[in-house]
Amino acid sequence: MSALPLTPGRHAAPPPAGRSPWRLAGARLRHDRAALLGLAIVALFVLMALAAPLLTALNGHGPNEFHPEKIDDALAGAPRGSFGGIDAHFWLGAEPGTGRDVFSRMVYGARISLLISLLATAVATTAGTALGLTAGFAGGRTDLLISRVMDLVLSFPQLIFMIALVSVLPEANRTLELVLVMGFFGWPYIGRIVRGQTLSLRNREFVDAARATGMTRRRIVFHEVLPNLMAPVLVYATLTIPVNIGTEAALSFLGIGVRPPTASWGQMMSKAIGWYQVDPAYFVVPGVCLLLTVLAFTLLGDAFRDALDPRGGNR
């Protein structure tokens, strides 16, 4: 890294010197209210997903338990009571048609939605970084080949291909399939950014210096180039998560998400569509959850970018 140690400033003025760029970024983030809000929401949902069995133990309703007493059989299963059947036992009401507890399904849905989007982002980020780094550093034919593959994958109409792929894959583990398919269509975005960065880093002085000292190629890649890529990768990955949450919801909405009766927010939205005029409360729950998580991850991603990228930053 090229940061020069500066003498400590005499004024208690902003640039807190003597720290690594990561610590600098951390300090900036701590003062960014939007980032903190995003982080809080993310933490809340992650906790909720992890503690799903505990939370449903509190209200005593499993996510797949039918409660026929909560719905009106003569009305195709519209929930009894106001606001979708909200009461002391059903904190967010009952699902139309089945009487399942919406709160229980919401917290279990958070598990699926977060798990799939985080794993898919991890797959895309890992693959994209590895291939982008290889392409940028190796150059020549390897670069050509990898870049063309990236162009090819990017040129697919993604959602349509995801629908087609998920539909033809044998029915094994739907969650894993969704992760892999979403990861497959996600890696070139990150791959291109990593390749571009690698190309510019490859000829920077500190890399030349490392080369001159006789450092192995491997060491140069992992110790000199890769750490400098972490900032854009982190920013991009954080911004990919909300996209993946949306994609997972879209796929579930289109009927090719996780297998019923597993709850997911997209599947809840899909079911809510037919009911929004009769039971708008049921539409609000997964809608607000999706909105909040996507917003939180986007705020967080933006804050990371501002904190880590001095050129693009505006603060």
């Binding site: 195709a76 299963g77 519209a78 009766p261 037919g274």
Partner: protein, 563 residues
């Protein structure tokens, strides 16, 4: 008498309803409370608007084999030798003369059938309807170019297996005789007392040879009924106007009240429901052609003014959960019987649209086929009896439960129905894995005997009110075919097959009750509900009754509009 998949139940049908359904409580007064149903006092004139999501699959009488389109065609555009009385409930299953002067005569126990045409029957150009035209119409149904229609004429008429339609064999089919222009004689391969009912099918609509345009006849059928086609822009609009040559004097069934019938096609069902609920302007004189969406049910049923415009009538249909008896664990009849108690039919019905769209079924044959009687063989409560099921499963050595697959459609509703079954069976430790497949391949998926899952959703509608058109295709083991199978339980029991075939020959309804009972004991399927069709109309539509023959569809013979 196998029939093509066309008249199977439309799976995605959903919905709702109103009548409290004690099983078997069906009667002619159950009709949706329409004003002046069946009466003659209704007003004539005006335009009836019919709203529909798609285009009619076929209007060509010899190709028309979709329930509501058969109603539309035979009530408005073409007449058949016999038809059904214009009434709801049991009264609607009565066969009455239409083109013919009576419902057919036979002197030899059903081998030869003679019909005489009424006098004064005319087409839309004023030319007379002759018995040769009826013969030619039936012959068209043999043409390989026009394969979609019912297969009864092809399988039941003598020499039918070697005849290939009037385009290839212009000589015609010898087993249909026309001694004069107003007499037609059918010679059957085997005696059947059901021929008068079969003669209600649109196969028996007259087509003059000179007007036959082959496959193009579909776009512009030549009318013998009270209306003729003025314009037909497929998928958009079909406009019917009066046929000036049709005379009410020759027709005791059709009232032909509106002056024009305007079918608007290609609308979303949610849009149709919304328009009918709003009940504004021309939509006050509109009806939906097919089932309202399940999600509209609560909006309709919670408002008394809208509920009054809602009809939900029993048809000749039952929905089942079929067990694949060719695979373990359902190759064991004891396990199958336990399932009769394990399933939660109430939860299924709620997912399917609520208590108004079907009566819980205790046996396979719908009450409309059995003079209103229903049978309850297992006396399982609608929610099931998990304790009893568990006891039976333990006796069968399956007390620890097992895992099976259930095929359903990939629609929201299909999945909801599957979840309802899943939670019911989970009570007895049966783990159900849901296998959603797209609607368009649903029947080919479950009709492939080797790939069929252990459990599949199924449904059947009788083509005409006789148990033989219901039981034989679904339960006779001789009808099992490797692909496109209709006997999806794959139960091939020699004794039962013989009983079914005997009952088909004798055709007594007491026999059918015995067959139903015996089948229920063998338990190849779990009967879920007797189906109703939920329909909505505008406030100025009169005479709107659900007709049991066509799934409970509005009877176009009686419908009219107020000014």
């Amino acid at each position: 008498m196998k029939r093509p998949p066309r008249t199977r139940l439309a799976l995605p049908a959903a919905l709702p309803a109103v009548l409290a359904l004690a099983a078997g409580a069906l009667s002619a007064c159950d009709s949706g409370g329409s004003s002046g149903s069946g009466g003659r006092g209704g007003s004539n004139g005006g335009t009836l608007t019919v709203l529909y999501t798609k285009d009619m699959e076929h209007l060509d009488p010899q190709r028309n084999y979709v329930m509501f389109a058969m109603d539309f065609g035979t009530r408005l555009l073409y007449r058949t030798l016999t038809t059904y009385a214009a009434a709801s409930g049991q009264a609607g299953t009565k066969v009455v003369p239409d083109l013919a002067t009576d419902t057919g005569r036979t002197g030899d126990g059903g081998l030869t059938w003679t019909f005489h045409l009424k006098q004064g029957l005319k087409y839309e150009d004023g030319s007379p309807v002759t018995s040769q035209d009826v013969k030619y119409g039936v012959e068209r149904s043999f043409a390989p170019d026009l394969p979609e229609g019912p297969g009864y004429a092809r399988t039941m008429l003598a020499g039918g297996d070697e005849y290939h339609g009037p385009y290839k064999d212009p000589k015609g089919l010898d087993s249909i005789g026309t001694p004069d222009a107003r007499t037609i004689v059918f010679h059957l391969r085997r005696p059947s007392m059901e021929w008068p009912q079969i003669a209600t099918l649109p196969t028996f609509a007259p087509v003059p040879k000179a007007k036959d345009s082959g496959v193009d006849f579909d776009k512009r059928p030549f009318s013998s009924g009270p209306y003729r086609i003025q314009t037909y822009d497929r998928g958009k609009r079909l406009l019917l106007v009066r046929n000036p040559y049709w005379s009410k004097a020759t027709d005791s069934v059709r009232q032909a009240r509106p002056d024009r019938i305007d079918v608007q096609e290609g609308l979303a069902q949610a849009t149709i429901d919304q328009r009918l609920i709003a009940d504004q302007g021309a939509d006050q004189r509109a009806i939906t052609l097919y089932s309202v969406a399940a999600s509209s049910m609560a909006r309709i049923l919670t408002r008394p003014d809208i509920k009054r415009r809602f009809t939900s009538e029993l048809g000749l249909c039952t929905r089942f959960l079929a067990m694949n008896t060719a695979k373990p664990p359902f190759n064991d009849p004891r396990v199958r019987q336990a399932m009769q108690y394990a399933v939660d039919k109430d939860a299924y019905r709620t997912a399917h649209g609520g208590s108004g769209i079907g009566a819980p079924a205790g046996s396979y044959l719908p009450p409309t086929l059995m003079n209103g009687q229903t049978l309850d063989v297992y006396h399982a409560p609608p929610k099931g009896d998990p304790a009893k099921a568990e006891q039976l499963l333990t006796a069968a050595g399956k007390g620890a439960g097992f895992s099976i697959n259930l095929t359903t459609t990939s629609t929201e509703q299909g999945k909801a129905e599957a979840e309802a079954v899943q939670q019911g069976l989970a009570r007895v430790r049966v783990k159900v894995r849901i296998n959603p497949v797209s609607n368009s391949v649903y029947y080919s998926t479950i009709g492939d005997v080797r790939k069929e899952d252990e459990l599949v959703f199924y449904g059947w509608c009788a083509d005409y009110p006789s148990a033989s058109s219901f039981v034989q295709p679904v339960f006779d083991g001789n009808n099992i075919t490797p692909k496109g199978n209709t006997a999806v339980s794959q139960l091939d029991d020699k004794v039962l097959n013989t009983r079914i075939e005997t009952a088909v020959k004798d055709g007594r309804s007491a026999d059918w009750q015995g067959v139903d009972q015996a089948l229920m004991q063998a338990s190849p399927m779990i009967p879920l509900i007797y189906d109703k069709l939920p329909l909505l109309r505008g406030s100025k539509v009169t005479g709107a009754i659900g007709h049991p023959i066509w799934e409970g569809e509005y009877d176009f013979a009686t419908i009219g509009v107020k000014s």
